[in-house]
């Protein structure tokens, strides 16, 4: 694999993880604009653990994911008191506060950044991304996923049917944060350096952008969005300086006919029925 292809592949894989970090809160109706903060938490915690205590990198990464998960559960208590745009802005503010902490935390290098000694290669990241995808896809197929859709669509009815709405919202938020932390940890361990400037609101926004572009009604949507977002600028590399402008036009043009994103649940169930019907026809004729 050439260096160029590998480089893009790593970014794609990490973007898929970040996409699911944003997908879970959205599945419960929350727009998390502070996801970069949790990515940063994961990166710093794992790097500190593996640098200072010699903890094996994968364990450090998973552990950092759990730290981000736990932190999100705690912060979810006040954050979930807000709703809608207020919630999005609260997460935004939280992300900004975290970033300024990273910038000022001298123990991990402050604004100068923090090197990571141990290394995780593209193969390891691929396995981790697959794991994140499978966990998400699996959870979506369980009652947990079912109830999450119910909470997203109608909180009052979900509550009457015995679903603990607050708990589901908090879990969705924390699960997303956990994935963000895990992805951030892998990022730090792959690129061997953590720059706090990266964990800005722009990072959060770009992830949110590709998840909404892919669509949040299905598990496949974020995957498609991440792929689109990572690969399209590369495809447009021929028109070097224009590529982000063209890319932006693509986003605007796509959202007009498809405001719910590229992949919707109606579409998937139509596809599924189409396939099933074909199989039935074959069986009948065969």
């Amino acid at each position: 694999m050439s260096g160029y292809v590998e480089g893009i592949l790593v970014i794609l894989l990490l973007n898929v993880i970040f996409a699911y970090a944003v997908y879970w809160p959205l599945a419960a109706g929350q727009l998390n604009l502070g996801v970069a903060g949790f990515v940063g938490i994961g990166a710093y915690v794992s790097a500190y653990a593996s640098n200072e205590f010699g903890i094996p990198p994968y364990i450090a990464c998973v552990g950092a994911g759990f730290v981000a998960f736990a932190l999100a559960l705690v912060i979810a208590v006040p954050v979930l008191r807000t709703k809608g745009i207020y919630l999005a802005l609260a997460t935004f503010a939280f992300g900004q506060v975290l970033q300024s902490l990273f910038l000022n935390l001298e123990i991990v290098g402050g604004a100068a950044g923090y090197p990571v000694i141990s290394y995780i290669g593209v193969g390891g990241i691929a396995v981790c991304t697959a794991a994140v995808f499978l966990i998400t896809a699996f959870l979506d197929r369980t009652r947990f996923g079912l109830n999450m859709v119910a909470v997203h669509d109608d909180e009052a009815v979900s509550d009457l049917f015995g679903i603990n709405v607050r708990a589901y919202q908090a879990l969705a938020f924390a699960l997303g944060a956990g994935f963000a932390g895990f992805g951030g940890a892998l990022y730090g361990h792959h690129f061997s350096y953590i720059e706090p400037q990266n964990y800005s609101i722009l990072f959060s926004i770009s992830i949110v952008l590709f998840v909404l572009l892919g669509g949040t009604q299905t598990v496949v949507g974020p995957l498609v969005g991440a792929a689109f977002f990572t690969l399209l600028p590369e495809v447009l590399r021929g028109s070097e300086e224009w590529r982000y402008a063209i890319f932006a036009v693509c986003i605007i043009v796509i959202m007009i006919p498809r405001p719910q994103g590229l992949i919707t649940s109606d579409q998937l169930s139509a596809l599924r029925q189409f396939l099933v019907r074909d199989r039935l026809r074959e069986e009948r004729h065969g």
Partner: protein, 254 residues
């Protein structure tokens, strides 16, 4: 024990911003008794359902189910204690299929982590699904099981709401205007279906405007006007009650 009320409201009051919507309301529903809550528009019928299911807290009074005081039980836990309901405006989860909506109805009985994390949308053999399919079949809805609810006719969606409410395992089913918007044939089917449900031991309480339906289906009627009970009894009794006639037709007729 058959005479012990399964649902009992004792001096229940509720006000919204100084407006007394329910005033000192008391009535009992006996086990298995098909009961209707009727009254002119704005009498507070749906509010009574909302108080029983816990959407709003009461200002004073007591609500008990099966002898347990549920007045301060959070809404989320009331279905477990025996109260399930449908809604005046259909409140199904639009992004889920019919079967999945009905599965959501089972939530009050799902307690183990294993059940929550069982890939129920991927497989089709679990007892939960068999049970849900059975209820759908009995309601004549099995053909729609995999369809998205959003695309189905109104009458079908109303039936799905009832199927979903049934699966919570509650003893009391509160149905908010189940016959509204249905054509005569659908109303008749609904009546048959509700008789089946009642015969299998569930106590049904309806809020309904369709008096023909109430007369044919219910054994006992509670009449509300301006948040107060003005009459109760069999459909025949309340029909003759002067207060009821006055409430519905105006004082000059009485």
């Amino acid at each position: 024990m058959a005479d012990q009320p399964i649902l009992s409201l004792d001096c229940v009051s509720k006000s919204f911003g100084g407006l007394n919507v329910i005033k000192n309301l008391s009535f009992d529903v006996r086990c298995g008794q098909r009961t209707a809550l009727i009254g002119p528009n704005g009498a507070g019928k749906s509010t009574v359902f909302n108080l029983i299911s816990g959407v709003f807290p009461v200002n004073s009074g007591r609500i008990s189910v099966n002898g347990n005081d549920i007045t301060n039980v959070p809404s989320r836990k009331r279905m477990k204690l025996g109260v399930s309901r449908s809604f005046q405006n259909i409140r199904l989860v639009q992004h889920l299929s019919v079967l999945e909506n009905v599965l959501v109805g089972q939530t009050p009985r799902v307690t183990s982590l294993g059940d929550i994390l069982y890939p129920i949308r991927m497989t089709s053999g679990s007892h939960w699904q068999c049970e849900a399919m059975e209820v759908l079949e009995r309601a004549g809805l099995a053909a729609f099981a995999r369809d998205h609810v959003g695309n189905l006719p109104y009458g079908v969606q109303k039936q799905i709401e009832i199927a979903r409410a049934l699966l919570g395992g509650a003893d009391i089913l509160l149905l908010d205007e189940p016959a509204a918007g249905l054509n005569p044939q659908e109303t008749e089917d609904l009546s048959t279906r509700l008789h089946q449900i009642a015969d299998s031991g569930t106590t049904i309480v309806v809020v309904e405007h369709d008096m023909q339906f109430v007369g044919a289906f219910c054994e006992y009627v509670v009449v509300l006007n301006f948040g107060e009970m003005i009459a109760e009894g069999t459909p025949q009794e309340v029909r003759r009650d002067p207060h009821v006639i006055e409430a519905y037709l105006g004082s000059d007729v009485a």
